[in-house]
């Protein structure tokens, strides 16, 4: 097995561990899990409004999306999760610094979002909002 394959295997096993761990449902408004550490949050996309004249509200909308977790500086994936239809996700992770790389589920060029680095502290879930750009201007 190649070194890359080994890394991916380790990633897969980590994923098994992550998936085997119960992930509480519900929204973050109910709070992150009371134990453990990781990242919790929501994937959102802008309302898709161009430069409209009227002050019509154009709030962000939830978007189900894929998030790949790596350590900062190491491209080997540790976990990949898909947020639910309301955009919520939780990823159990050991304390450390991680990079979240978001992607839409269709493989289209948009909505698009850039990577986001997060710090995970012991016994805490770091809360993040991952903002996708519809591409509309």
């Amino acid at each position: 097995m190649t070194r890359t394959g080994l890394v991916v295997t380790v990633g897969a096993l980590l994923l098994v561990a992550a998936c085997a761990k119960p992930v509480p449902g519900g929204s973050p408004s109910s709070g992150p899990p009371s134990t453990g550490s990781g990242v919790a949050g929501r994937t959102m996309v802008d309302g898709g409004c161009p430069m409209v004249r009227q002050g019509t509200p154009c709030p962000d909308k939830p978007l189900s999306a894929r998030i790949t977790v790596t350590r900062v500086g190491d491209p080997a994936p540790l976990a990949t999760v898909t947020s639910d239809s309301d955009g919520w996700f939780r990823i159990p992770l050991a304390p450390g610094r991680y990079r979240l790389t978001p992607a839409n589920l269709t493989g289209a060029l948009h909505p698009a979002a850039g990577p986001q680095d997060v710090d995970v502290q012991p016994d805490r879930y770091t809360t993040v909002t991952v903002s996708f750009d519809s591409g509309i201007r």
């Binding site: 994923l15 002050g55 962000d60 591409g135």
Partner: protein, 532 residues
Amino acid sequence: MHPTSPPRSSRTRRACRALVVGALLLAGVGVLTPPAEAQTSHTGPSINATAPTGEQLTAQVYDHPRYYTAEQLDALNEELFDDEDVNLGHPGKPPRHGALGPSVSAPDSVGTLATTVLRDSTIPASGISGGSTYASYTQEPSTDANGANIFQTGNWYATRSTDGGATWSYLDPFTMFGSGFCCDQVTQYDPDTGRQFWLLQFSDHLVLANASASGTGAFTNWCYWNITPGWFGLASGTGLDYNDMTIGNSYVYVSTNFFPSGGGSGSALARLPKKEMAACAGFNYGYLTRTDSFTFKLVPGSTDTLYWGSNWGQTNGSSFRVYAWPESSGSYSYWDRTVASYTFFTRNSGQNCASTDGVVTNWCQYADSRVLGAYRAAGVLGFSFNAKQDGSHPFPYSRIVWFNESDKSYIGAGDVWATWGAIQFLSLAPNSSGRVGGAYAWGGGTGGTHYYPGSAVYSTGAGTIENNSNFYLWGDGNTCTYNGLYRWGDYLTTRTYKANPSTWLATGWAIKGGNCGSSGAYAQPHNVQFSG
């Protein structure tokens, strides 16, 4: 949870199982290494369609602002700013031209030609439909002219001058072509037909209009078509946004991004016969769509072949796709080229155009790296776009990439950049001497120096970078936010001035009278003619 969805735990288990199996399969084969990029051309067919005769109207032209009562103005201002958070910041030092000096550095040759502003017309509030409250801090301005007859569009106005920019009177895009007008206007003059073409974006379609650009009645008798998503073979309800237009020997070309209601995105292009359009007649046209490119930048200076390009869709930050569609052909070709790498950025992804002390706010926060400018000159195809600050560029800057027109081979790249601030939204156009004119937005500052966003014009040789910027318009204040992010742009326009094709026309603006949103502040549009 959706009522028909399986229980969450079941779904989670299945999803995890799929992920793990996928990951183990990947481990078995190792991570695939993509093959080296094949720099060959590809071809694709366009599709033919038919359009009906155009609708005709005579525009009302106004030489004074639309009248509102005090109550109506209050309501409009409340609407305009109710989702904008204004950071008033602190007033900076009065900017001095001398402070800039050679700050726009060039990585290669520095020329001796100066970019000279021959005319700088300020468009007053009275020349904008609705007056100053209709001048957006995100202007998206466009222009072109037939001699002294000048037409300019922007958010949210259209305005004309028949005296070389001395006076301006407005046309109301909110009412001329029906309801739903939004933004993203583009206009260009075609000397062959004597018509001014005008592209506007509405909530569920585009409008393409044209009118005579001659005489005192210039830009008043319009013929127009509603371009729905169906014109591009797209489903009703597909969003069309962010448009471009250029005119070749026989056709008017219109590009737009599209967003299907079910998600995703792509770019579309239509080729429309200009003589039939000028006569307000029905016509056959061709179009194409692609979902592997985002934002088609059409190349000014295209004649018997339309060129266009996109830097979004392959390897963002190190690739560029050049397209070509001969006017005599029913198919087009494209070439994927590797270009010098740069830091591609998306909205709010760490780009920072603010002054180092934060007094000038991060005015490019809403911007991204889509292609903004292009030209064809002296056998070179050039394309410009925003790039993010990096170890060599302390502020976001504008990158230009060059290709040989003959074989679309990559020539190289150059940067319009500065140590003192950001240079963004560079638009380009060729002149009759094979030189290139441009317009860009600039701002930032280091130490105690503050440059609120303003507008500059620029000139250079084809395929080179020269240090020839003219900072003709200085800002007095910061821009507003849009959905919580500072916004400028989303584009500028440079045109070959057909009455004197060795010179150019350009649009620009700056916020005068204080920070955006403060009493008396006005996003003041300008229309300039320049040489270089």
